[in-house]
């Protein structure tokens, strides 16, 4: 019973170490539960292009002498195609550093992102 060959013990020891390491790895993998997919969505889906499109449409609308029906169309199309509630107002021309410019207020909200801007065009 005694006098066993003890030279292979390190293999068993390594086996134990690997088992313990695997156990902790499994614990870590288990922790990677539901990562906020909906929260990251808000960051990923900032509607930069939608807002740019809206701004350019509004500036075209000012160039075309502010037609009331065009305003209604912009609001309706934004709602239908981009799912965004938009609204804007254009004031009379003002003198800004020697240029005649219109004060423009823009409001955009698609439920995730709300954007407000006051600018001159």
């Amino acid at each position: 019973m005694a006098r066993l060959n003890e030279e292979g013990q390190w293999i068993v020891l390594m086996g134990l170490l690997v088992a313990v390491a695997l156990f902790f790895l499994a614990l870590i993998v288990n922790q990677s539960a539901l990562v906020g997919q909906t929260t990251s969505e808000a960051v990923l889906e900032f509607p930069k292009n939608d807002i740019r499109d809206l701004r350019s449409a509004i500036f075209d609308y000012i160039d075309a002498e502010c037609n009331e029906e065009v305003e209604q169309d912009i609001i309706a199309i934004s709602l239908e195609r981009k799912n965004a509630v938009v609204s804007f107002s254009v004031g009379g021309p003002q003198d800004v550093q020697g240029h005649k410019m219109h004060p423009v207020s823009i409001h955009y909200n698609n439920g995730v992102t709300a954007y407000n801007e006051t600018t001159h065009y």
């Binding site: 019973m1 006098r3 539901l34 997919q37 309706a76 709602l79 195609r81 799912n83 609204s87 909200n109």
Partner: protein, 262 residues
């Protein structure tokens, strides 16, 4: 090594060691295995919660991003995923305004749903009207894991209040159920936008009628009364009615999503 080997019996040593090993195996079978099974089923449910949110994101792509068709492959383990056509669903919504508009014009708005039922635990996960809702079978509570995108917009320029309601309707040609690897294929069938311009100080009421066998009224109450939607619950139960006041414009966008197969 040891000079005196008296009173050392090989047989007794063997029996002792065997006894220890058998006791170990017995303990693991008795206590360890059930824990393992429980762990497995809770992992399955967690995976399915994630998969349902993936399907919800696909639906959002169909509705909000002008994508006509979407499919995603997912693993349904430890339970069954089923698709319920809107005509067979028992929960419903109804929208009314103080100006007399009704949506739908008559009857109730039935929505259809995707439902996962766990085999080993009591968890039921439902994708209903764009929301992922979880509940425990046999108890009254329910919780929303992922919310739909209803919102109330306060326009600072024109001082208007716009209330936007998104309705996501699920239709399926037949009742489908699946377990294991599935590919959920869906397409946008129809979109319908209704805009109501309301008179000043109008109120909008949303009524939710729960399915008595799969009651999500607590989840919808928490969502509709949250700051995002900001409605207040009216003293009527059941069905639960929620009210929002001073709405100038009510927008209802209804999407019909067809599940082609799972």
């Amino acid at each position: 090594m040891i000079a005196d080997d008296r009173a050392v019996s090989e047989a007794i040593g063997f029996i002792l060691i065997l006894g220890l090993v058998l006791t170990g195996i017995g303990l693991v079978t008795l206590y360890g295995y059930p824990v393992l099974v429980k762990e497995q089923s809770s992992t399955d449910v967690k995976n399915m919660e994630r998969a349902m949110i993936v399907i919800q994101n696909d639906m959002k792509s169909l509705c909000f991003k002008n994508v006509p068709y979407k499919e995603s492959t997912l693993q349904v383990s430890g339970g069954t995923l089923e698709v319920i056509d809107f005509s067979e669903s028992k929960s419903s919504f109804k929208i009314k305004t103080t100006d007399g508009q009704r949506y739908p014009p008559s009857g109730q708005l039935k929505l259809g749903e995707l439902r996962y039922r766990s085999d080993r635990s009591t968890e039921v996960i439902t994708l209903e009207n764009g929301a992922v809702i979880t509940r425990q079978e046999g108890s009254t509570g329910s919780a929303m894991l992922a919310e739909p995108r209803w919102f109330c917009d306060d326009d600072p320029i024109k001082d208007d209040k716009t209330f936007v309601i998104y309705i996501m309707n699920v239709t399926a040609g037949e009742r489908m159920a699946k377990s294991g690897m599935t590919t959920v294929r869906m397409q946008l069938q129809e979109t319908n936008t209704t805009v109501h311009n309301l008179s000043p100080q109008s109120k909008v009421t949303v009524t939710y009628t729960a399915d008595t066998t799969n009651d999500h009224s607590v989840a919808w109450k928490n969502y509709l009364t949250s700051p995002m939607v900001d409605m207040t619950k009216k003293a009527s139960s059941p069905p639960d009615a929620y009210e929002i006041s001073d709405v100038d414009k009510l927008v209802i966008k209804e999407y019909r999503i067809e599940i082609l197969g799972i």
